[in-house]
Point group: C2
Chain length 204, copies 2
DNA sequence: AGATATCTGTACTTAGCGGTAAATAACCCC
DNA sequence: GGGGTTATTTACCGCTAAGTACAGATATCT
């Protein structure tokens, strides 16, 4: 299923692939942030003209939001798959090592576009800033719910504060995004992940 | 000592206080980031006109860099004072609790301007992005040096990897900046700090 | 007081921004 | 092949961006 609308069969066909163009847009937003990205940056990277961009994606804001959707649904995404692991510890483990691998991967910009796409921004970017903020908070809520379940499953002590544990993990993951921006390698991030797991409550 | 140049005695005197204006500029940059801040935002907040801004601070870029200098030299800054604590554990403790207190403080924008001022940005902001990146990396190097010293002092096990420990602490601190942006309270950040310290090697 | 030096306010420049109108080109269906 | 529909191209819109020229205002120095 494509993230964007499907092409109709009548009329002149698109000369570009919508999903490929969206990938390019994501790459630019990821590197430059919402405010730092101009429409010229986008059209150049996407290989299309402005009217094509507007016809296919609405406007800059909607293009950004669609790029974020794509980002989160990509096969190399690690967050949701990690939630499926059988124990809380393994969830944390896979999430941290996945982040270490992914965020410093040279195949794409470093860090996490959900963190750095519109952290501090103009009023014009208020909508996308809030959208990203919601995604971050929702991610932590999912983590928390997963840890609550783990308490019921017995693979976390009943005394565990699931909310704080989720926030701690979220903090480290978001910090790793900054570290990747700082130029940290996957191996260096892996060591941070290892250390983080030392503060993680084991099955009890 | 003022962060900016001193006023000459001859000629018409300035009608505004340079340091107060710089505080206002810092506040705007902190909330909106470098790319998200316009000169109109700045002059409005600072209560001066553009020619006065340019005469006093050079240009937008130099104004930003001076605002960062001010940010780091402010009395409520917690990083450097924490480095002076007698043991590695106390250094980490003061830094984490200081960050928890400071980053969610409602008296100023949330988070840390060194983290969020120009994380992802346009090419026009490349200089300030690099300046902030250098500050983050230098901060971690100072932490690392402090932990190396702690190993000599015997308050960290000789087997400790000071570099990784510094990076772990830096990761959590930077993550806390994002958390503060997410709306986390000082109390919530304090709990994260507490948890972080559990992974911290005790005197051995 | 006059000369000199600096600051202030208004008005301006140039360039780029996000977004769009209108003409043309390429496709499907009949 | 013609009509209907959609995409592409080019050129443009109004607006705001960062930065500045210049004239007038206000201080010190002699």
């Amino acid at each position: 299923m494509s993230v964007v609308s499907c092409t109709p069969s009548i009329g002149r066909p698109r000369a570009f692939d919508v999903d490929t163009a969206l990938e390019k847009a994501l790459d630019v937003f990821w590197r430059k942030g919402y405010d730092g990205t101009s429409l010229s940056d986008l059209t150049e990277a996407m290989g299309i003209n402005k009217p094509s961009l507007y016809a296919a994606f609405g406007n800059k804001e909607q293009l950004f939001l669609k790029a974020i959707e794509l980002y989160e649904s990509r096969p190399c995404s690690f967050f949701l798959p990690a939630l499926e692991k059988p124990t809380a510890y393994q969830v944390a483990e896979h999430m941290l090592y996945g982040a270490a691998m992914n965020m410093a991967d040279q195949a794409h910009p470093q860090g996490c576009v959900v963190v750095q796409g519109a952290l501090s921004c103009s009023e014009a970017a208020a909508t996308v800033k809030e959208a990203l903020l919601n995604r971050r908070v929702e991610g932590e809520q999912k983590l928390r719910a997963r840890f609550e379940q783990a308490k019921l499953d017995g693979d976390l002590p009943a005394s565990t504060d699931a909310e704080t544990l989720a926030r701690y993990l979220g903090t480290v993951l978001q910090g790793m995004a900054i570290q990747a921006n700082n130029g940290a390698t996957s191996e260096q991030l892996r060591q941070v992940a290892e250390m983080t797991l030392q503060a993680f409550p084991r099955a009890g």
